[in-house]
């Protein structure tokens, strides 16, 4: 399992990522108890997945629409947003939408090509867990959260922009 940082500490990673092209039976047969399925599988087989003995989380690719999860967010313990390549910034918006527009309160995880140098911004957009590739030293990556002492904007983390606090 890739290393995980959750709520600012290195944590055990217990969720299995089920790839996009996996079908329902294969997904359910996965050894893991906790599985993250792609939104398309979730939408198609919500009932079957819910009826299985697994804990289910959903992941969104960067070209998926977070608004499509509007009716589900209350039930999901974890939603992951994928960064297929770090340059693809769409998942920053999907993360913010899940938190701001849908008031998603569960774990919001960044998966994929997650760079240490993006984690500060990700956290501001409401992401609270980070799946790290082997190339990243998790201990060192923790420092990313203190890259900046403050920020100007209204963000998921601090809805009051700096000008209201200055």
């Amino acid at each position: 399992m890739p290393a995980l940082i959750k709520d600012g500490t290195i944590s055990e990673n217990t969720w299995h990522l089920i790839s996009k092209d996996t079908d329902l039976s294969e997904a359910i047969e996965n050894r893991g108890n906790q599985i993250m399925v792609h939104i398309s599988l979730w939408q198609e087989h919500k009932d079957e997945l819910a009826a299985s003995s697994k804990n289910i989380a959903v992941w969104l690719d960067s070209d998926d629409d977070a608004y499509d999860l509007a009716s589900d967010v209350g039930d999901l313990p974890l939603i992951a947003v994928n960064f297929p390549v770090f340059k693809d910034g769409r998942s920053f918006s999907n993360a913010a939408i899940l938190r701001q527009r849908m008031s998603f309160k569960g774990e919001l995880r960044a998966i994929g090509d997650v760079l240490r140098d993006q984690m500060f911004y990700m956290k501001k957009c409401g992401i609270n867990s980070f799946e790290l590739s082997d190339a990243i030293d998790a201990e060192e990556a923790l420092a990313a959260f203190t890259d900046f002492a403050d920020n100007y904007q209204s963000t998921v983390e601090d809805p009051a922009p700096l000008f209201r606090r200055r």
Partner: protein, 552 residues
């Protein structure tokens, strides 16, 4: 000018620490070339043809003399003694060494300057009219609004990895010298019937491969909604802008593809959530920002000064300079002076360290210690007393900064082109120079009158060639450098994209081609008509006939 408080300073320091560490990790092999790329770009650092190029932001074109002196000392200590003012109110150094860049950035931070987001796929330096705050008939000073946007766009966590670069211009002057309509977002400050301030919002303007004039998506956005509305536009673009093709990734392509109405609907839908939310601007914040741009201590009762006329009567160059480089000011007794950086034989927009120090001294002596940078690559002293004009002019003459060309043919805009830029198809600086030599004679230029000539070394259009009355674009024809000419562009409130004249020309033919185009104008103009208006009246055909007939 805006002055940093503890928050602004801290953020800048944090950024330098962060970039120092990123550079260290890159040099140690912990970050790949590919991973380091967007990080260095967002700190203004390109790898160019000859060396790295560092682009430093001059927020909305405003500089203090202290800052300008620092830019001069950096040119001296880290570069080859000069720097280049770009068409985006930025300044570029062509020879810094990567290892020294964090040090250089720390020096900039000492004077509250930086290279943050001057390149890369993020929100870039916000630009405005260089006469903001002093223009006659101004609707509202754009600088406080630019500063508000600067802060909002700096390190915006959601919009640092956009499909492509993103440029915003704000204009509150009647003439629009900011090329507002060819920006990703163009904001015209307006007043409604009740006298309240708001913004006309245009989106999807831009130059480059596909030149487009921005489409209006909001006629009047009340000022307090500025940031929530910008957030909504950015979110729509970040989510739906194309990412599969670099050349189709700008917001203009998205707006074209779905149409301005559909784009507006998406923005409005997104905006409804945040409208009146926490990011809504407060009067307190706007007033705080406006406070930094209050008028300096202007003297009263100095509106008449006989010395100007006396000197103009005896010094011909001074009278030319008065006519071309000096503009009326909102305050009686004061004038706006443009220093033209277009001395023939000097690369357009280049200034030596000595000249920068010199201009800083002029600013201290004559203009409350402030300098503006224009998007047509000149410098401006905004607050010069009438009675100081002649002294200022004489001082400028000594440093080759008194060229009386402003708005004339030789005041051309020119990107660095093939001499420096790795993306270039062709050189641009030698073209500018050969044309300048041909039209060197001031009386001749004066006779031609108001005209803009813009040169870009490739499709990226940093020289804004599409919106020049005459545009020149460097193209690559089987490995040889050729030049395509467009006519009829303009970048003011009546923005127009120029039309291609026809097949491109060899470098050595360019002065002749331009001369023929000018001759067609001179032979056809009707009483006092400028180049653009004659073109609009007679169309492109006569120019085609003249240029291509004799080229055979």
């Amino acid at each position: 000018m805006y002055i940093y408080d503890a928050y602004d300073k801290q953020m800048l320091e944090d950024r330098i620490t962060q970039f120092r560490d990123q550079t260290r990790r890159f040099l140690a092999g912990e970050l790949s070339e590919e991973q380091f790329l967007p990080l260095r770009l967002q700190n203004g650092l390109y790898i160019q043809r000859l060396a790295p190029m560092l682009r430093v932001a001059i927020p909305y074109g405003c500089l203090s003399s202290v800052q300008l002196r620092k830019l001069a000392s950096i040119a001296r200590d880290y570069d080859k003694g000069y720097a280049h003012f770009s068409t985006r109110q930025n300044i570029q150094y062509n020879w810094p060494v990567l290892e020294q860049v964090p040090e250089l950035l720390a020096e900039l931070a000492d004077v509250e300057m930086h290279a943050i987001q001057t390149s890369g796929n993020c929100i870039r330096n916000t630009t405005t009219d260089q006469f903001a705050g002093v223009a006659v008939g101004e609707i509202e000073d754009s600088r406080p609004w630019c500063e508000i946007i600067r802060q909002w766009s700096t390190f915006h966590p959601e919009f640092a990895y956009l499909p492509r670069k993103f440029k915003i211009a704000v204009c509150g002057t009647p003439n629009d010298q900011a090329a507002t309509q060819v920006h990703d977002i163009g904001l015209y400050i307006k007043k409604n019937a009740e006298g309240e301030i708001g913004f006309q919002v245009l989106v999807g303007g831009g130059l480059g491969r596909t030149p487009v004039i921005g489409a209006q998506i909001c006629d009047f956005l009340p000022w307090k909604h500025l940031l929530t509305y910008l957030d909504a536009i950015m979110r729509v673009y970040n989510r739906f802008g194309r990412r599969d093709n670099k050349y189709k990734a700008r917001i203009k392509i998205l707006v074209k593809a779905i149409g301005a109405d559909a784009f507006r609907e998406k923005v409005e839908a997104e905006w409804q959530h945040d409208k009146d939310g926490q990011a809504t601007l407060t009067e307190e914040e706007v007033n705080r920002c406006k406070g930094f741009f209050a008028d300096p201590d202007y003297e009263e009762h100095i509106d008449k000064d006989a010395s100007v006329e006396t000197h103009a009567g005896t010094d011909l160059l001074f009278s030319h300079w008065l006519e071309r480089n000096v503009t009326n000011h909102k305050k009686p007794g004061y004038r706006i002076v443009t220093l033209c950086l277009k001395e023939t034989g000097v690369a357009t927009g280049d200034l030596t360290d000595g000249q920068m120090d010199f201009v800083a001294n002029l600013a201290d002596k004559f203009s409350f210690g402030e300098v503006r940078v224009t998007h047509v690559q000149n410098l401006v002293l905004t607050d010069v007393r009438l009675k100081d004009l002649y002294e200022l002019f004489q001082a400028c003459k000594q440093e080759s900064l008194a060229t009386p060309y402003v708005g004339l043919l030789n005041d051309m805009v020119c990107c660095p082109g093939g001499d420096f830029c790795s993306l270039a198809n062709a050189k641009s600086i030698p073209i500018a120079e050969s044309i300048q030599r041909r039209f060197e004679d001031f009386e001749r230029q004066k006779n031609i009158g108001d005209i803009t000539l813009n040169i870009s070394g490739c499709m990226n259009a940093c020289g804004h060639h599409h919106v020049g009355n005459i545009g020149i674009l460097g193209v690559d024809k089987k490995g040889a450098e050729f030049y395509q000419v467009t006519l009829g562009g303009s970048a003011d409130r009546q923005t127009a994209i120029g039309k291609v004249l026809g097949p491109s020309f060899a470098q050595e033919d360019m002065p002749d081609v331009i001369e023929k185009i000018i001759d067609v104008y001179l032979n056809n103009r009707e009483d006092g008509e400028n180049f653009l208006n004659t073109y609009k009246r007679i169309g492109i055909e006569p120019y085609k006939e003249s240029v291509y007939a004799s080229a055979d």
